[in-house]
């Protein structure tokens, strides 16, 4: 698998800059349904027409994207842009790292038109929209460390993406930060989803604390999305350890109250457990706690560490080699499964996962973060394996090995 780059350089040319908007859906000639003139917000002015080298550019699009197959420095992009200056509207030459762009993808163009970010990769199994970088937890192993600045523009951007989703878009993760901190914006976004993409399967990542507020939980449930699940982390069966791991006093009580409120409103909840140094000895107790106190949850996800963000400076506090906690992991999965709670294991390489746990392993690492090592080349189960996080750098299990 080739790892995808989700951001790339660009160079603008042609008339009508600055652009009418910053979020665009990529369109191709073959992409009949999204030709200019089709109804709704996704009409011409939000379609970016991809113009392959040497092909004509039909009029009517709000933006034209040109690509050059060859790699080269920025100067060549400028040349490419000049060559295409004959396009009928504003034109953006994109770098070869974004050559993978295809119909249905949704991109964001920076104000200075020098940077393009892919927000929706139509061919990917997983797409996630970041709604905020603010959070009221400060988890020891957070892969996306919280920032305090106002980033409410992220909600606006997500709203535009959802408006532009191509037909047949199936599932979307909404993530943060903590998306529930801005209650109005989140409820508004979910209502927008219900309006423009009612069939979409939505997975909302939240620390659950806000749902302890009954009125917020009711507003969330009242949106009435047909297929939405909240993934909520619970790291310990009691507040002492949980509050320490999430670095917030009082978080455990709020999170569990949130889970209970959601359940009483008939809302689907997934419990997410990051397996790290502190949670390993508590796994069986936590599984028992969930089986006994939260047996209604839709599933429990046991996640391997992504050694990025706060997990790097806190490495000595959080790192646990998967090879060293298979007994604890197997016991926890056993308890959950016999209690009738579906368990799934994410972000674990098959070569360090107890073979009895393979049926629960999900090939889960997002396409753009997923990679294999040189030693993986000869592995017989490579295609079934999630590989490793490219974001984890060299902090990987010491026991990775190809399987015969």
């Amino acid at each position: 698998m080739v790892m995808l780059r989700l951001t790339g350089r660009a160079h603008a040319s042609g008339p009508a800059w600055p652009l009418a908007d910053d979020v665009w859906r990529v369109s191709l000639a073959e992409d009949g349904g999204s030709e200019p003139g089709s109804a709704g917000e996704g009409s011409a002015k939000h379609l970016a027409r991809l113009v392959p080298p040497g092909r004509p550019a039909p009029p009517g699009y709000g933006l034209y994207l040109t690509t050059e197959a060859r790699t080269g420095p920025l100067a060549e992009l400028r040349t490419a842009a000049r060559v295409k200056a004959g396009t009928p509207g504003p034109t953006l030459a994109i770098g070869p790292e974004l050559a993978h762009l295809s119909a249905g993808d949704i991109i964001h163009v920076s104000t200075d038109a020098r940077r393009v970010t892919v927000l929706w990769k139509n061919s990917a199994r997983h797409n996630a929209l970041l709604l905020t970088e603010q959070c009221d937890n400060y988890c020891l192993m957070c892969s996306q460390p919280p920032k305090e600045r106002d980033d409410s523009w992220l909600f606006d951007r997500a709203r535009k993406v959802i408006s532009l989703l191509p037909e047949g878009a199936r599932s979307l993760s909404l993530t943060g930060g903590e998306p529930t901190l801005n209650a109005e914006a989140l409820i508004g976004l979910l209502e927008h989803c219900k309006h423009v993409a009612p069939e979409l399967s939505i997975h909302l990542l939240s620390n659950g604390r806000r749902f302890a507020d009954q009125s917020f939980a009711r507003r969330y449930a009242a949106v009435g999305l047909a297929d939405i699940m909240v993934g909520i982390p619970v790291y310990a069966p009691e507040l002492g350890l949980h509050d320490f791991i999430v670095q917030a006093a009082g978080a455990f009580e709020e999170t569990i109250h949130g889970v209970l409120n959601l359940a009483s409103l008939g809302q689907a909840v997934e419990i997410r457990i990051v397996v790290q140094r502190h949670t390993v000895p508590a796994l069986a107790g936590l599984a028992t706690f969930i089986a006994r106190n939260l047996p209604f949850v839709a599933q429990v996800a046991l996640m391997g560490l992504e050694m990025t963000g706060l997990a790097r400076p806190n490495s000595a506090l959080v790192w646990a080699d998967p090879a060293d906690y298979q007994r604890e992991l197997a016991e926890a999965v056993g308890i959950l499964v016999t209690a009738g709670i579906p368990a799934r294991i994410y972000n674990h390489q098959l070569c360090v996962l107890d073979q009895r746990l393979w049926p629960y392993a999900v090939r889960s690492i997002s396409d753009w973060k997923n990679d294999y090592l040189d030693i993986c080349r000869s592995c017989s189960v490579r295609d079934a394996c999630g590989g490793v996080f490219t974001t984890s750098g060299m902090r990987l299990s010491q026991h990775l090995h190809p399987l015969p």
């Binding site: 400060y138 020891l140 310990a236 069966p237 009691e238 507040l239 002492g240 350890l241 509050d243 320490f244 670095q247 917030a248 006093a249 455990f252 009580e253 569990i256 109250h257 209970l260 508590a282 107790g285 028992t288 706690f289 089986a291 006994r292 106190n293 047996p295 706060l310 790097r312 400076p313 806190n314 490495s315 000595a316 506090l317 016991e331 056993g334 308890i335 016999t338 209690a339 009738g340």
Partner: protein
């Protein structure tokens, strides 16, 4: 890189006296091991010293305190979550109660061609049809059964030998399904039979109607035939052949067997379980002998004490665990009922091990003559002349008469374990049950004196055994989890 910490681990540690106890009870398992249980039966193993430190507030062991907090045995003042979760779990445990009676036993005849030593009802010659239930009586019993608010109705055909009155079994099954068209209940049928009279016509009907077969198998041939007497001394051969026929025609999951323990069984646990495994049966119920009916009158085989039965039970359980280790799946039913109560919030509502007792509100018995009993054991007492648990008769009692009768409510309310002397302070109360019929039969009152109660001694022994094994043996703990399914 230096770590990024906002909240030190020490900020969440508990100093001595910083917590309070939630409702908690304890029982010594060994010289150096005590089990603590909370209101709903979640349990934590501690040493006697640890128990003392928790009780007097001096405990400083954070790992132990974390386990106790997770199990809702202690909480910190101001916390509300532990009591809310305890309340939720207790509600879950009791939520079957409003459903009321799910099991309805129809004694379609008292006649039987067996003359078992321990039989709990009168032996009648197979010819006397005055001991058969009539269609009119069965119809009235069905009307009462359908008055139950339970979304599930299980109709169990009992005897005597119900196959001696098979036309009525057929009639009740058809009639119940017809009536259910207007109720939409989840309806199930079981025939409790010795299988000696099984024929193709009966098998065909069971296949068509989805009827489950429950039979008796006491173990190896000599033991079984010694207990279960029949002209020709071929009870075992008939049962084994019958089980195989049902397995073949209806499927292996449609037949289960029950054993009755007698004095002769006590040294033969392994052979008994082996006999079940040989037949491909995947569950065995190591039952105590009941004190009712002929079993008590005759004393034949009944006069062994609880300790000997417990040794038998322990040996049997070991054998079953060993079979599982060898890859032969086998469940011990009594342990599986208790596993659910120890490890989940579900109460399987097993009539002999639930509180409030399952009499009347878990099961009702319609005798061949229309008399209604609160339990099968209550009917057996009546056969011995004690009509305490007769709740009425289908021909002249309304549903309200039956369910609100003092004959039912008095034993129910007087035996609730949570309020019974000695049970209220017992660590095993969440696992145990109320058995007003047993205590009435053996002690003359519904509550019973638990210090002298064989029911209490037997169950305390079983709970202690299961907890010790779960504490010491990870494989057994996994098996118990598996049995909760």
């Amino acid at each position: 890189m230096t770590s990024v910490i906002k909240l030190e681990r020490s900020a969440t540690t508990l100093p001595p006296h910083a917590w309070q106890l939630l409702p908690m009870r304890f029982h010594r398992l060994d010289a150096n091991s005590v089990v603590l249980t909370n209101l709903v039966g979640e349990h934590v193993f501690v040493t006697p010293d640890e128990l003392v430190s928790v009780a007097d507030g001096t405990c400083a062991d954070q790992e132990l305190l974390a386990r106790l907090r997770a199990a809702h045995v202690v909480q910190v003042p101001g916390e509300t979550l532990p009591t809310e979760l305890l309340a939720m779990k207790l509600r879950t445990r009791l939520r079957r109660l409003p459903d009321s009676t799910g099991l309805h036993l129809f004694v379609v005849t008292l006649r039987c061609e067996h003359t078992c030593r321990y039989c709990q009802v009168s032996r009648q010659s197979a010819a006397k049809s005055e001991f058969d239930m009539t269609e009119e009586t069965a119809g009235r019993a069905l009307q009462l059964a359908f008055r139950s608010p339970s979304p599930y109705l299980k109709i169990e055909f009992q005897g005597g030998e119900p196959l001696l009155n098979f036309p009525l079994v057929r009639w009740i099954t058809t009639e119940a399904k017809r009536m259910n068209a207007g109720h939409g209940k989840d309806l199930a049928f079981v025939i409790a039979t010795n299988l000696a009279l099984l024929d193709d016509e009966i098998l065909e009907f069971c296949a068509e109607q989805g009827i489950h077969i429950s039979t008796s198998l006491d173990g190896p041939q000599d033991l079984h035939n010694g207990n279960r007497r029949r002209p020709g001394q071929d009870s075992w051969r008939q049962a084994v052949a019958g089980i195989r026929r049902v397995q073949q025609r209806l499927g292996p999951d449609r037949v289960s067997a029950l054993m009755t323990t007698t004095e002769a069984s006590l040294d033969r646990a392994a052979e008994i379980i082996g006999a079940y495994a040989d037949l491909g049966l995947q569950a065995v119920f190591l039952r105590p002998i009941s004190p009712y009916g002929f079993a008590i009158r005759d004393r034949g085989g009944a006069n062994y004490d609880v300790e000997r039965w417990l040794a038998f039970y322990a040996a049997g359980l070991d054998q079953i665990v060993e079979l599982n280790r060898q890859g032969i799946p086998m469940v011990e039913i009594y342990a599986s009922i208790i596993a659910k109560k120890m490890l989940t919030n579900a109460d399987p509502g097993y009539v002999d091990l639930t509180s409030p007792s399952g009499i009347g509100i878990g099961a009702l018995v319609y005798n061949y003559d229309g008399d209604i009993y609160a339990s099968d054991e209550g009917r057996m007492l009546a056969e011995m002349g004690d009509h305490t648990f007769r709740l009425g008769n289908v021909h002249d009692s309304s549903y309200a008469d039956v369910m609100l009768s003092d004959s039912l409510l008095d034993p129910l309310t007087e035996s609730i374990a949570l309020s019974a002397p000695m049970c209220t302070t017992c660590a095993f109360e969440p696992y145990c049950g109320a058995d007003p019929v047993f205590h009435h039969a053996t002690m003359g009152d519904f509550t019973g004196h638990k210090a002298l109660s064989a029911f209490c001694r037997r169950n305390t022994g079983v709970f202690t055994l299961l907890l010790r094994k779960m504490r010491d043996d990870a494989y057994f703990r996994d098996l118990m989890w598996l049995w909760t399914r």
